[in-house]
């Protein structure tokens, strides 16, 4: 008789549970909690102590800000690339934004050395490409040195490195070198040129970016234009001749939609909300089925709410309800209103609440609306 594989069995017995179902059960639970009697503490029990504590925390925060803020210097080499990513760029590096949307920033680095700091709590995926090597950031601090060979060093967190489909995950303290792949540099002369430190938006938005300028060939990109690849597979001509194609289209998809969603669920179970948000965001980019898309948007909204990114959560819920094929507009709209209110975006909260009342005059979430 064959041995029973309990790990396999456990995987197969994942419950048919979803955020939507969770929300619906919660709605019923709320009603039953109310019916079970007023368990809410009397007002005096929410004593002044928490208020005093909050005030003390705010004061401490302000003191910390005062302590830190005057020491913030505007460093022309320190560049904010997106809400989540900051880069320290050396004199010889060029960084170009190839693609940017709400949750994804794709950068191309040519030459030099750049230290990237990516805040995982923003739920943004940052991808750096250097000489044919793609580094997908999973929330971390790492450096990329593009000097004939591409060297990736991870100070903290994890990155996924992909070179022509060969992938490796590097974690804290690890370093790897990759042979470069010859690439043309047309991208460097177009779009948002972040050519070397001048012209970049300085961190904290304290200095306006300089007017857009052409990338002048630095020693490193001159080298890049003429260097011969070493031990590297050539990039196909078709890739090079399609500068208008989305940069992500030319690269292999890292994971299937379902495995990303599964991983997100597993990470949530482990309490890793940042990791879960990252996987959901990746899954969103891989799924064209509207219904599945809506479910992932809803789940991402729930995760963002749990991470206290209330405005991001509200946007996710709104996107979920606006998606074609969504059959849970009511839940998503109520969740959107709640999160706008938590984010203190009162106008949006009011608008979402109003829309909810119009659409669902007898809705299940009327009592939970902020307005």
């Amino acid at each position: 008789m064959t041995e029973l594989d309990t790990d396999e069995l456990r995987r197969e017995l994942a419950p048919p549970w979803s955020d939507l179902r969770e929300q619906r059960v919660l709605t019923g639970l709320r009603k039953r909690m109310e019916a079970s009697g007023p368990k809410e503490a009397p007002p005096q029990r929410t004593s002044r102590r928490p208020v005093a504590l909050s005030a003390a925390l705010v004061a401490a925060g302000l003191a910390a800000l005062w302590w830190v803020y005057p020491r913030v210097t505007i460093d022309p080499h320190r560049l904010r690339l997106s809400a989540a990513a900051v880069a320290m760029v050396d004199e010889t590096a060029n960084v170009v934004v190839l693609e940017r949307d709400e949750n994804l920033v794709v950068l191309a680095q040519q030459g030099g050395q750049v230290r990237y700091e990516v805040d995982p709590s923003r739920g943004e995926t940052v991808v750096v490409r250097a000489s044919g090597v793609e580094i997908r950031v999973l929330g971390t601090i790492f450096s990329v040195a593009d000097d004939r060979w591409v060297e990736v060093s991870v100070e903290r967190g994890r990155v996924l490195v992909d070179q022509g489909g060969e992938r490796a995950i590097l974690t804290s303290g690890e370093r790897a070198r990759f042979a470069p792949v010859e690439r043309s540099l047309p991208e460097l002369d177009r779009e948002e040129s972040l050519a070397s430190p001048p012209g970049l938006e300085a961190e904290d938005g304290l200095r306006d970016p300089l007017p857009s300028q052409e990338t002048s060939p630095t020693p490193s990109n001159r080298r890049a234009r003429h260097h011969t690849p070493i031990e590297a597979p050539p990039v196909s001509a078709s890739t090079l001749q399609k500068p208008e194609a989305s940069p992500t289209e030319a690269l292999p998809r890292i994971d299937a939609f379902q495995s990303l969603v599964d991983e997100a669920e597993r990470l949530r179970m482990d309490g890793d909300l940042d990791g879960a948000a990252d996987r959901y965001a990746q899954a969103l980019r891989k799924q064209s089925n509207q219904e599945a898309h809506s479910f992932v948007l809803f789940s991402l909204g729930v995760v963002e709410e749990a991470r206290h990114n209330f405005a991001a959560a509200a946007r996710r819920f709104r996107a979920a309800r606006n998606n074609e094929g969504t059959n849970f507009v009511e839940e998503a709209l109520a969740a959107e209103a709640r999160n706008w209110a938590k984010a203190e975006r009162h106008e949006e909260a009011l608008a979402a609440s109003k829309l909810y009342r119009e659409l669902y005059p007898n809705g299940a979430y009327l009592d939970a609306l902020p307005f």
């Binding site: 064959t2 197969e12 549970w17 059960v25 368990k39 503490a41």
Partner: protein
């Protein structure tokens, strides 16, 4: 947790968000059924809400909640039995729900006496002692039932 213990519903809802998925998984495996999953998850949290002020060790909320879930499932199975012809249903496969995967169907066909200790010990990581305590059986019986369940499942799934 402290705010939830004081009766703050919003704080309790956060606890729900954190634990609902795990409770749903446990209940689903114990029942091997999707039919009453929502109801049991809800009842588990309602019982927790009503009994939270009696929880002596708040840091053990998760395991306390799971023990409530196990208790509720046992009650549910007991109630089912009262409605059915008891002896037949103990060994004869229950009606298989459409839509359940092969693993869940195999699990559903085990009698609850075997399924519950197997799920708790082999799938959800409870020790033999904890499993025995939750199922209200001796440790030796818990071990024996786990072994028997494993054997039957392996036969069905091979």
């Amino acid at each position: 947790m402290s705010r939830a213990r004081e009766g703050n519903r919003v704080a309790f809802e956060q606890l729900y968000r954190r634990h609902a998925r795990r409770i749903a998984g446990l209940v689903y495996r114990l029942l091997a059924s999707d039919n009453e999953l929502d109801e049991l998850v809800q009842e588990t949290f309602l019982a927790a809400y009503e009994g939270l002020d009696r929880l002596r060790e708040p840091e053990r909320f998760g395991s306390w909640l799971r023990s409530i879930a196990v208790h509720n499932v046992r009650q549910k199975i007991a109630r089912r039995r009262r409605w059915r012809n008891v002896l037949e249903r103990l060994t004869v496969p229950t009606t298989v729900e459409p839509g359940l995967g092969e693993a869940a169907q195999s699990l559903a066909q085990l009698p609850p006496e075997l399924r519950m200790p197997f799920v708790l010990h082999k799938l959800d990581g409870y020790t033999v002692e904890e499993t025995a305590s939750l199922c209200r059986i001796s440790k030796a019986t818990a071990k024996r039932r786990c072994a028997e369940a494993s054997k039957r499942l392996a036969r069905r799934m091979s």
